[in-house]
C-alpha cells in the first residue's frame, strides 16, 4: 500500500440535534458512507466514499443530513483546476482510463438556452389548448414523395410508421446498463402515455414482450439479444452506430453485471463481459449499412420501420444524408451531451458536437437535397425540458429521445457513478438489493407524469404561437430567434437573431 492522494469530493454533514439514530442512512448507502457504532451509540461518515447521490439526504426522515462540496482547496490556479489535478492523481494511482457516467458536464454552450420561442400578439390569435384541440400526435417512418389517387381513390401504400401520442420517446438504455425495474418503469410509462421506449443493446427481457407495441428494439454492434422474435416484438428497429456520450467507441458491460436475467436476455454466458465493438463488424461503409437495413427489413417482412442512430460528429449532415439514402426510415442523432451508463471521461467530454447544431445542419442538408420529408429525424442528447423539445422540433426534428430526463424522473440524482453498478436509486445497477429500490409502478407513474406535464407545456407553447398541430412547428425556424449567438451560429441554426 502506498499513500492515496484521493480526497473527498463531498462533505457529509449530520445535524446531531435532528438525528434520531434511526440508521436509515446506514442501510441506504451502498457506498457505506454511514456507519453506526453500537458501543458509543453514534453515527459516523466516511466522506471519501460519498458520491453525492443524495439517497441518504432524501430518505433521512428528519432532514438531519446535508451534503456539501468538500471545502478543500488547492492554491488557486485557473489552469490547473482541482478536477484536472485530481484526475492525474487517480490515473497515477490506477494506470487506467478515467470512467464516468451520464452526459458531458463541461460548460460548453447550450444552444437551447440561446434560442427563444415566438408567440402570437394581435396579428394572429394564440390558441387556448384548454378550449381548442391541440394536436401533438406524431408519426415516424418513411413518407412517400406524393400520394397518388386514381378515380378519387388512394392508391399509394404508406410505409410502416411509429405512431406517437407525443413527440417524446425514451432513449435507448439497455437492460444491463440499467435495472430491469428501470426498464419496466419506462416501458409501462411509454405504454400509458402512448410513446416508445428503446431497448438499447440489451435485448428485450421476457417480462417486457407485452410492451412490444411500445418498444423500439435496437440492433447494436454486439448484437446482444437479437433474434427473430426480438425483431418482431418491437414496433421499430434501430441500428445503433454511435452514441453521443462515446462517439467512435464501443460499449462494455462488466461481467459482474451479467446476472442470470441479463445473461438470458442478452444471450451471453452469465458473468461474462458484454463487449460491444466500436464499429459493427459488418458495416465498414455506407453500402454495408444499406445491406443491414434491408436485411432487417427482410427479416421483419417490411413491417417495421428501421432507424439508424448515430452520434453527432463533425460531418453529421453528410452522414445523415447517406443514411437516408441507404434506406433508413428514421435517423436518430445523439448529441455530445447525451448520457451513458459508462464512458471514458475524455471521450465524453471532448468528442462530438452539440445536438442543436447537428440537428440544424442535418435538417437543412436533407432539405437542400429534397429528401427531408422522406425520413423522420429524431434527436437526443440532453433534452432537458419541454422548451428544449419545442426548439428541437422548430429546428427540424420530428421527435426527441429523452434519457437523462427520464432517469431523473425515476430518481437519478446525476452523481455520474452509473459505471460502478452501485446506483443507490436502483437505476443503474443489477444488485438485487438496490434494484428493488425502484418500484416500477412508482417509476412508471413518475416517468408518465413527466411526459404528461411536458405534453401540457408543449400544448401551451404551441397555442401561444397560434399553432394547433405539432407538425406546423416542425422545421418552422421562424418561430425561433437566437440570443447571444454569433452570426455563424445563427447561420448554421438557420434562425434570425432576436429583434430581427
Amino acid at each position: 500500500m502506498t499513500l492515496s492522494m484521493n480526497t473527498p469530493e463531498f462533505l457529509v454533514e449530520r445535524d446531531l440535534d435532528r438525528c434520531i439514530k434511526c440508521q436509515v442512512c446506514v442501510g441506504q448507502c451502498a457506498n457505506e458512507v454511514h456507519k453506526y457504532d453500537k458501543e458509543t451509540d453514534s453515527l459516523s461518515c466516511d466522506d471519501l466514499a460519498c458520491v453525492g447521490c443524495h439517497r441518504c439526504v432524501t430518505l433521512c426522515p428528519t432532514h438531519a443530513l446535508t451534503i456539501k462540496k468538500f471545502p478543500l482547496e488547492f492554491r488557486e490556479n485557473a489552469n490547473w483546476t482541482a478536477n484536472t489535478i485530481n484526475a492525474i492523481y487517480k490515473q497515477a494511482e490506477s494506470g487506467g482510463i478515467l470512467l464516468t457516467g451520464m452526459g458531458n458536464d463541461k460548460p460548453y454552450p447550450i444552444y437551447w438556452d440561446h434560442l427563444l420561442l415566438n408567440a402570437s400578439q394581435v396579428t394572429n390569435p394564440s390558441i387556448d389548448p384548454l378550449r381548442e384541440p391541440m394536436e401533438v400526435k406524431t408519426y415516424l417512418g418513411r413518407k412517400p414523395d406524393k400520394l397518388d389517387f386514381s378515380d378519387g381513390e388512394l392508391v399509394t401504400e404508406i410505409a410502416p410508421q411509429v405512431e406517437l401520442e407525443l413527440p417524446i420517446m425514451f432513449s435507448a438504455m439497455s437492460f444491463g446498463s440499467i435495472s430491469l425495474n428501470a426498464v419496466k418503469s419506462l416501458a409501462a410509462a411509454a405504454k400509458e402515455v402512448g410513446t416508445m421506449f428503446n431497448t438499447g443493446e440489451g435485448g428485450l427481457h421476457q417480462d417486457l414482450y407485452s410492451y412490444g407495441d411500445n418498444a423500439i428494439v435496437q440492433v447494436a454492434s454486439g448484437r446482444f439479444g437479437v433474434h427473430p422474435q426480438y425483431l418482431d416484438a418491437g414496433t421499430a428497429i434501430e441500428i445503433k452506430i454511435g452514441q453521443g456520450a462515446k462517439p467512435g467507441i464501443g460499449g462494455h458491460l462488466p461481467g459482474e453485471k451479467v446476472g442470470k436475467e441479463v445473461s438470458e436476455t442478452r444471450m451471453i454466458p452469465e458473468g461474462s463481459d458484454a463487449l460491444s465493438p466500436a464499429p459493427h463488424h459488418d458495416i465498414y461503409s455506407i453500402e454495408d449499412l444499406r445491406q443491414l437495413i434491408y436485411s432487417l427489413k427482410e427479416a421483419t417482412r417490411y413491417k417495421k420501420p428501421v432507424a439508424v442512430k448515430i452520434a453527432a460528429v463533425h460531418n453529421v449532415a453528410a452522414i445523415a444524408s447517406g443514411i437516408a439514402r441507404a434506406g433508413a426510415d428514421i435517423i436518430t442523432i445523439d448529441g455530445f451531451r447525451g448520457g451513458t451508463g459508462a464512458t471514458p471521461l475524455r471521450t465524453r467530454d471532448n468528442v462530438g458536437i452539440p445536438i442543436e447544431l447537428a440537428l440544424a445542419a442535418v435538417d437543412s442538408r436533407l432539405r437542400n437535397e429534397s429528401i427531408r420529408h422522406q425520413v423522420s429525424l429524431v434527436v437526443a442528447g440532453s433534452v432537458r425540458n419541454s422548451a428544449d423539445i419545442m426548439k428541437a422540433i422548430a429546428l427540424g426534428a420530428d421527435a426527441v429521445y429523452i434519457g437523462s430526463s427520464a432517469l431523473l424522473a425515476l430518481g437519478c440524482h446525476m452523481c455520474q457513478k452509473c459505471y460502478t453498478g452501485k446506483c443507490n436509486w436502483g437505476i443503474a445497477t443489477q444488485d438485487p438489493n438496490l434494484v428493488k429500490r425502484l418500484n416500477p409502478e412508482i417509476g412508471a407513474q413518475r416517468a408518465a407524469n413527466l411526459l404528461r406535464a411536458w405534453k401540457h407545456e408543449i400544448k401551451e407553447m404551441l397555442g401561444g404561437m397560434g399553432i394547433n398541430a405539432i407538425e406546423s412547428l416542425r422545421g418552422n425556424r421562424l418561430m425561433l430567434r437566437g440570443v447571444g449567438l454569433s452570426d455563424r451560429d445563427l447561420e448554421i441554426l438557420g434562425v434570425k437573431a432576436a429583434g430581427e
Partner: protein, 149 residues
Amino acid sequence: MKKIYAQEKYCIGCRLCEVYCSAVHSEYPNDLVKAFNRSKIVPTPRVKVEEDRPLSFAMQCRHCDEPHCLKACITGAMYRDEESGAILNDAERCVGCWTCIVACPYGGIFRDESKSKVVAKCDYCLDQGDPACVKNCPNGALIIEEGGE
C-alpha cells in the same frame, strides 16, 4: 376490510415504517425528533421489518377474521373495533401476560418497551388517518387495500 400488505419485491429494508410507527405512538406523534430524542423510551414499533438481503418486508398485525390473539386474551383487552374492524388492544386492561404473542402465528404482536407489561400492536393509526407505515413507505412497498398481494 382494508388491510396492509407488504410487497416484498419493493421493500428496501429502510425501516422508515418502524421509525414513523414508533413516533406516532409516542407522546410526540407529529415530531420525529422529539419522539426519538425526548421520549424516555421510544415506543416499540408495531411493524417489524424483517430482512435477509435482498429479501425484506415489513410485517404488522393481519387484523384476522378469526384472530387468535383475541381468543387467547385472558383479560378481554384485545377487541375488535366495531367501526373499523381493526383488532385493537386496550392498554388499560392489558396485563402484559404475552399470551397473545404466543398465540399469533404471524408474529404481529410485540412487547411495548416504552410501557410496563403491555403489548404493542398495529392499530391502523386509526386516529391519524392513513397508517403511518403506509404513508411513509418511500417505495410503495406497503399498501392498504382490500384483499391480498
